[in-house]
């Protein structure tokens, strides 16, 4: 059952990696990728720990939650990409104004 | 282990070797066209061996049919997609390695 914990730790790692990139890089597309990886990390924690049921079937409730989460993630990604394109269409650059170094 | 199991193991290992060869080709070959060639040719055969190995273990004809269908779909998709990639590469003006 320690497989479950190993995957959960990978999930936590993905969350933090994504968080680092979200803050540390200015390009909006990269920030959107970072959020998606953070999301995958959270989902991995949810599902990996649901496997702590011995030989029985894993707990299905987190599975349903993650399917919900994946749909939220794709909706949010689509909206974020659209906003990014609008911002870059007006400024010529896919970064937020003012909060990055040149 | 029965004879079928041994046959499956052999086929799976053979398939794995083809996949390995395809991947080495993908990494080592010099340009996009040769890489595509390595990838599609070797991997399609590799997948064929793996499917053959799994068919031997299939519980019903229906399951075997599904496996065969998967192989055919992958063949079809990889053929079309590698054509599209190669075409795009040609249009972009990537020269063929000689």
């Amino acid at each position: 059952m320690s497989h479950a914990f190993a995957y959960a730790l990978v999930g936590a790692g993905l969350f933090l990696l994504g968080l680092y990139a979200l803050v540390a890089y200015a390009h909006l597309l990269r920030k959107i990728l970072a959020l998606n990886i953070m999301g995958s990390g959270v989902f991995l924690v949810l599902v990996a720990l649901a496997k702590r049921t011995g030989d029985a079937e894993p707990d299905p409730v987190p599975h349903a939650m993650v399917i919900t989460g994946i749909v939220v993630a794709v909706s949010a990604t689509a909206l974020a990409l659209a906003l990014m394109l609008k911002v870059s269409g007006k400024t010529g650059q896919a970064v937020l104004p003012g909060r990055h170094q040149d | 282990m029965t004879l079928t199991d041994y046959a499956t193991a052999c086929l799976l290992i053979l398939g794995g070797i083809f996949f390995l060869a395809g991947t080495v080709g993908l990494l080592r070959f010099p340009d996009v066209y040769t890489r595509l060639h390595a990838l599609t040719k070797a991997d399609n055969v590799g997948l064929g061996f793996i499917m053959a190995g799994l068919v031997l273990q299939a519980e019903s004809w229906l399951a075997a049919g599904k496996l065969l269908l998967i192989w055919l779909l992958v063949l079809f998709a990889s053929a079309s997609v590698s054509y599209l990639i190669a075409r795009r590469a040609l249009n972009k003006g990537i020269r063929i390695w000689m």
Binding site: F15, K31, L46, S75, L79, K86, L96 | -
Partner: protein, 491 residues
């Protein structure tokens, strides 16, 4: 008829009504304005129905699907949730009346369905008793709020909406990771079940940290408030009002609820930290507001400061948590009324002059008296002067701070009040003066002026009706607060 009204399941109706309204607006854009206004008015009535049920029969609980927690999802409303629902319905109605005249036909087609979905999301959020369901409602709220922010399509609106969306999503994911840890620690996402099972251990602490950080980011608690001023300042006026009055309160409510039910007993250190950040927010937000040269940014920074007051509740809560939550809810309500009035007034001033530069307000007092009165009345509540709701709330908070010997927090509150007076009189002062380059006044629809004024009057009325309202939120508040309020009024 009477029986139907008494037995109808108002809690569910409060969620389904705006959902249906939003879909109708989406399917028939031509009727969206009418359908939107009718829906919002109907929601106010449904909330009233729910309020009557709760007053008569106590807390409301609905087991969705008939399963019951922890397997199913429960809806739950006590005085606190009811209070937030009333806030949303009334302020939402005021802003809707304003929005009716504000938007051009192109924007109105998008505003109404998204606003109705936002309303449904907020109502669902205040009724949720399940931390995963809260995540879904939070995401709904966030996506709707971002869409509304970007509505004008101007570059400042677009980039602040982008920043807003990134912050929202990061906050939600941190919250969701906390939910994951809590579920795997205690085997439930139902708040009541969790409350019985929860034991302080490292997992729960990590969940607490993640959820609090995510929600603090969404509530724009200093220093996580970087996204708020540009978003609230660049959105269309009714949207700024919705964001400042209602949307930030949603995540604050979740934090408060989690704190009350789950974490209050063992996390005193964290509540000290939240209080310190709240104090910092008051000082920093007020100083920034004072420095601004544009009304909308000034009002937005004022929101950062006023959110700080809400967080002062945490360090003062340890002794009597229910009471403190009541004070926080009351403060949130009075801020919602005052701040929505301010943003709407700012929208009127922009419509009137075509800009929102404070220095060029150009005799707005004479030419737009209702709007300036609305701004001034709302200002009374923001500064915390009697007899406004802001006064009563802040007085109770001050009283709690002094009785617990927290002179530092009391001092911050008083300085915050003085700074607020500074930035509000700055606007009012220029409104009396003639600008260097006088400009013509453009017409402002009467409905827009009256909507702002009525909300501002509401923020004053809230103070006058304090004891009735406290009876609604928390029984103990009447005893404690009644005394405090009377002491002030007789003095």
């Amino acid at each position: 008829m009477e029986a139907i009204l008494a037995n109808a399941d108002w809690g569910v109706i409060v969620i389904l009504l705006p959902l249906t309204g939003g879909i109708v607006c989406f399917l028939w854009p031509a009727v969206s304005k009418t359908a939107g206004l009718i829906t919002v008015a109907a929601v106010v009535l449904a909330v009233a129905g729910l309020g009557r049920q709760i007053m008569e029969h106590g807390a409301y609980r609905h087991t969705v699907g008939g399963w019951g927690a922890p397997l199913g999802i429960d809806l739950f409303a006590d005085g606190l949730s009811l209070f937030m629902l009333i806030m949303t319905a009334l302020v939402g109605l005021g802003i809707s009346c304003y929005a009716k005249s504000y938007f051009n036909p192109r924007d109105a087609v998008w505003f109404w369905p998204v606003w109705l979905f936002l309303l449904a999301a907020l109502n669902a959020l205040f009724l949720a008793a399940d931390i995963f369901n809260l995540y879904v409602t939070l995401e709904l709220t966030g996506l709707a709020a971002v869409t509304l922010t970007a509505l004008t399509g101007r570059i400042d609106a677009l980039s602040s909406a982008m920043r807003y969306l990134l912050a929202m999503l990061a906050g939600s994911l941190a919250y969701l990771l906390g939910v994951a840890l809590l579920y795997h620690d205690s085997g439930s996402v139902d708040i009541a079940t969790l409350a019985q099972r929860i034991e302080p251990n490292a997992t729960v602490w990590a969940a607490l940290g993640l959820m609090s950080a995510g929600l603090a980011l969404k509530t724009a608690l200093f220093p996580l408030s970087f996204w708020l001023p540009p978003a609230h300042a660049s959105a269309p006026a009714p949207v700024s009002a919705l964001l400042s009055a209602l949307v930030v309160k949603a995540s604050f409510y979740i934090l408060l609820r989690l704190w009350l039910e789950l974490f209050a007993d063992f996390a005193e250190g964290v509540s000290t930290l939240l209080g310190l950040l709240g104090a910092a927010a008051i000082l920093w937000g007020s100083l920034q507001a004072l420095r601004q040269t544009r009304i909308k940014l000034l009002v937005a920074y004022s929101t950062v400061a006023q959110i700080g007051y809400l967080f002062l509740v945490y360090p003062l809560a340890s002794a009597s948590s229910g009471l403190a939550a009541g004070i926080a809810a009351y403060l949130a309500f009075s801020h919602a009324l005052a701040k929505s009035a301010m943003f709407l007034a700012a929208g009127n001033l922009m419509r009137f002059g075509g800009h929102d530069r404070i220095a060029d307000l150009d005799r707005a007092v004479q030419r737009l008296p209702l709007t300036v009165s609305a701004f001034a009345l709302a200002g009374v509540s923001i500064m915390g002067l009697p007899p406004s709701g802001g006064f009563t709330g802040k007085w109770l908070l001050l009283d709690a701070a002094m009785s617990q010997g927290r002179w530092d927090l009391a001092a911050v509150m008083i300085i915050g009040g003085l700074l607020a007076a500074g930035y509000i009189f700055k606007v009012l002062g220029y409104a009396f003066m003639q600008a260097k380059e006088p400009h013509d006044a453009r017409a402002v629809p009467a409905g827009m002026e009256w909507a702002a004024l009525l909300l501002a009057v509401g923020s004053i009325l809230l103070g006058l009706m304090a004891s009735e309202i406290f009876a609604l939120i928390h029984p103990d508040l009447v005893a404690n607060a009644g005394g405090a309020v009377e002491r002030v009024w007789t003095a």
